[in-house]
């Protein structure tokens, strides 16, 4: 198994390399330059622009810039400096990574906890009124753009006199030490983004669960189990659900990159300290190493997610072998 993982990880490297080159190309193809954003400031002269370009190595040809970055990554694990913040990219990302992962995992968890049982339920009651209602509600989550959902939730909270309308904490708890009150305050704020983003994923997962459940129910071994006279509950849980959940494991692996991209809009709208807005800013401002590193990070997460999913799958389903 170890050799399998090793081989897969090694196999990722060329892919990542290609991705990094393409991402860099896309970033470089965009018109304008990093210093454009400062033009309006009267302190900013052409000399300053030239000085900044020199400091940042932007006066080098793009290919040289790319290989310089790549060299840093390969030899020193140095992902470059953020132009905007004048700090190593890794430090800037590190500051926000904790909350990003926390929020993303929570929303994923919420989607799963809601979607899997509902998927199973609707598979068994395909045309019942209740599963149609569930379907409508699930798809409603998918259909309402998250920025709108957040606006509506916040408006309702405001009308009810709440103060938890954005951010992760009330102002006084932001830099307070951890305490029960702080945890409660966090939970009080957290449910809005988690619900707004989490519900979006429910419909897709639910549909997948329902479909694979239906697939499995049609399989011979389930029929056999039924024919044997195994109790319905046992048939469902031991035979059907266990097998039906396998495709979802792969899906879970694919959803790892949403750690970054899934929260861009909602983080802007609800003012969350996550990586999402950072990526948006770096792309718009041409903070190239930041953008490149984040895109790479996201790609690596996806590849990693795939790998993890494969391992988990092999563990959950004995028929799958490392190959």
């Amino acid at each position: 198994m170890l050799s399998f993982i090793l081989r897969r990880v090694l196999g990722m490297l060329p892919t990542l390399l290609v991705i990094s080159a393409v991402c860099f190309l896309v970033i470089k193809l965009q018109p304008g330059s990093f210093t454009d954003q400062y033009l309006e400031d009267p302190r900013f002269t052409r000399e300053t622009a030239a000085a900044i370009s020199r400091q940042l190595g932007l006066d080098q040809p793009p290919v040289a810039q790319y290989f310089h970055w790549l060299g840093g990554v390969l030899t020193r694990f140095d992902f470059g400096y953020s132009f905007l913040q004048n700090r190593p990219v890794v430090t800037v990302i590190g500051e926000l990574l904790g909350w990003t992962v926390f929020i993303a995992l929570l929303t994923l968890l919420l989607s799963w906890v809601i979607a899997v049982p509902l998927g199973i339920y609707t598979a068994f009651n395909r045309h019942s009124a209740s599963s149609q209602v569930i379907g409508v509600l699930g798809y409603l989550g998918l259909a309402i753009p998250d920025f709108l959902a957040a606006l509506l939730i916040v408006a309702v909270v405001l009308r009810l006199g709440g103060t938890n309308v954005g951010g992760l904490f009330s102002p006084k708890y932001i830099d307070a030490p951890w305490s029960w009150a702080r945890v409660l305050d966090l939970l009080n704020h957290l449910w809005i983004p988690v619900v707004a983003v989490g519900l979006e994923g429910v419909a897709g997962l639910m549909r997948q669960m329902r479909a694979s459940m239906l697939d499995v129910l049609g399989q011979d071994y389930v029929r056999t189990a039924r024919a044997k006279g195994a109790p319905q509950r046992r048939v469902i849980w031991r035979h059907a659900v266990r097998n039906a959940i396998n495709p979802l494991i792969s899906l879970a692996g694919l959803s790892l990159p949403t750690l970054i991209s899934g929260t861009i809009i909602i983080s802007i709208v609800l003012n969350l300290p996550t990586i999402g807005p950072l990526l948006y800013d770096s792309l718009v401002n041409k903070d190239q190493y930041m953008a490149l590193t984040l895109l790479m990070f996201s790609a690596a997460l996806l590849l990693l997610g795939n790998l993890l999913a494969d391992i988990a799958l092999a563990w959950a389903d004995p028929r799958v072998r490392y190959s």
Partner: protein, 373 residues
């Protein structure tokens, strides 16, 4: 002859069985009808909308939806609207629109109004509207959905915006499926080095985070392009990202089909490869493709709205549901408190996505020949 009739009868019965299964899902059927209605509305948007989407009715900014009245002074009458008086609160500067019962005008069917183009034809016939005022008398408008900040009719904007939002999906799906089928087909059919290369490419494409790369690519669309081009650019961007997942699944399907007898037979009689892929393999996947396409469409529609929200999508003077919603959301709480009707395009968006999903689910169930519960 009888030997030929048999498979037809069989396929007919498969179809009718599928139809029966489709009919079983009431929501799916409803979704199908809703979609048909939406696309028809989009097609005839110019005729159905009472005004042009760019006409600014000065003095009627942020006017709430006009109410249609049936009971007038003389009892029941043909539906009519009142004139309105606009004013501004001296303290809060909020706009107020008050009905003016002294002015009543009937809403007529098939009235002449502003010209629009329909398949290259110029017309000024609108399904309904308040005819232009004759000499001196004040012009009265009928705004079923109210107006926006500039006094433009929101119903017209919603209907015409639907043209963009609904076709973004269709064109996008067509492009991404064309690429996906070709690449997936080639990859699965030929195998070997071609397969490996294409699989690598797909892997790379799939590894890109969706929204960020969408952002990156959409900033590449030159801002100086006219809005129609921007529209096409956005569709292309959405499609370029969308095909990889499909190609991967297709390859698997093709791999299985390749070993089937009739494909081997076609190969044996010397059919060209592309022909085999397109004529023999693809049709076998049609139900799968149809279902996948239906379910992929909402992604394009939502993708457009996300881009418009970030200011990188459709631009004035074109409009789309995403843009209308982004406008409404930019005004944020004012919209909710003062001009809630601006959220109506959102309702259309939501209904469309719901309809696509139910329709797609029902199609899938219909195409699924295995499960019988």
């Amino acid at each position: 002859m009888t030997t030929l009739a048999a498979p037809e009868a069989k396929s007919a019965s498969t179809l009718s069985m599928a139809w029966r299964r489709y009919r079983k899902s009431r929501l799916g059927v409803l979704g199908g009808w809703v979609l048909a209605a939406l696309y028809l509305t989009a097609l005839f948007a110019g005729f159905l909308s009472p005004y042009s989407i760019t006409t600014q009715h000065q003095g009627h900014e942020y006017q709430p939806p006009s109410r249609l009245h049936l009971v007038g002074k003389g009892g029941l009458s043909w539906p009519f609207v009142y004139g309105t008086r606009e004013s501004r609160d001296p303290v809060t500067f909020a706009r107020k629109s008050v009905d003016d019962p002294s002015v009543q005008l009937p809403v007529r069917l098939l009235v002449r109004g502003e010209p629009y183009r329909f398949f290259g034809l110029q017309s000024d016939l609108h399904l309904f509207g308040v005819p232009l005022a004759q000499g001196g008398s004040p012009q009265v408008f009928y705004f079923p959905f109210g107006t926006d900040q500039l006094g433009r009719d929101l119903l017209s904007r919603t209907l015409v915006g639907g043209q963009v939002s609904l076709t973004v999906g269709l064109i996008g799906v067509v492009i991404s499926f064309a690429i996906g089928i070709l690449m997936g087909g080639i990859s699965g059919y030929y195998g070997g080095l071609t397969d490996t290369l294409i699989q690598r490419l797909i892997e790379v494409l799939l590894s890109f985070p969706r929204l960020p790369i969408l952002l990156a690519l959409s900033t590449l669309i030159p801002p100086r392009w006219p809005s129609t081009w921007v529209y096409l650019g956005i569709v292309a961007v959405l499609a370029l990202i969308g095909w990889a997942g499909l190609a991967r699944v297709l390859r698997g399907q093709v791999l299985t089909l390749r070993s089937l007898d009739y494909v081997s037979a076609a190969q044996a009689i010397g059919a060209r490869d592309l022909r085999i892929i397109l004529r023999h393999i693809t049709p076998n996947l049609s139900s799968f493709l149809l279902v996948t396409a239906t379910l992929a469409l909402p992604g394009f529609v939502l993708g457009e709205s996300a881009l418009s929200f970030l200011g990188l999508g459709i631009k004035e003077p074109m409009t789309s549901w995403g843009l209308l919603l982004a406008d409404a959301r930019r005004e944020g709480f004012q919209t909710l408190n003062l001009y809630p009707w601006l959220l109506l395009p959102g309702l259309f968006l939501v209904i469309t996505i719901l309809a696509f999903n139910f329709f797609g689910d029902a199609l899938r169930d219909a195409a699924d020949t295995q499960t019988r519960l």
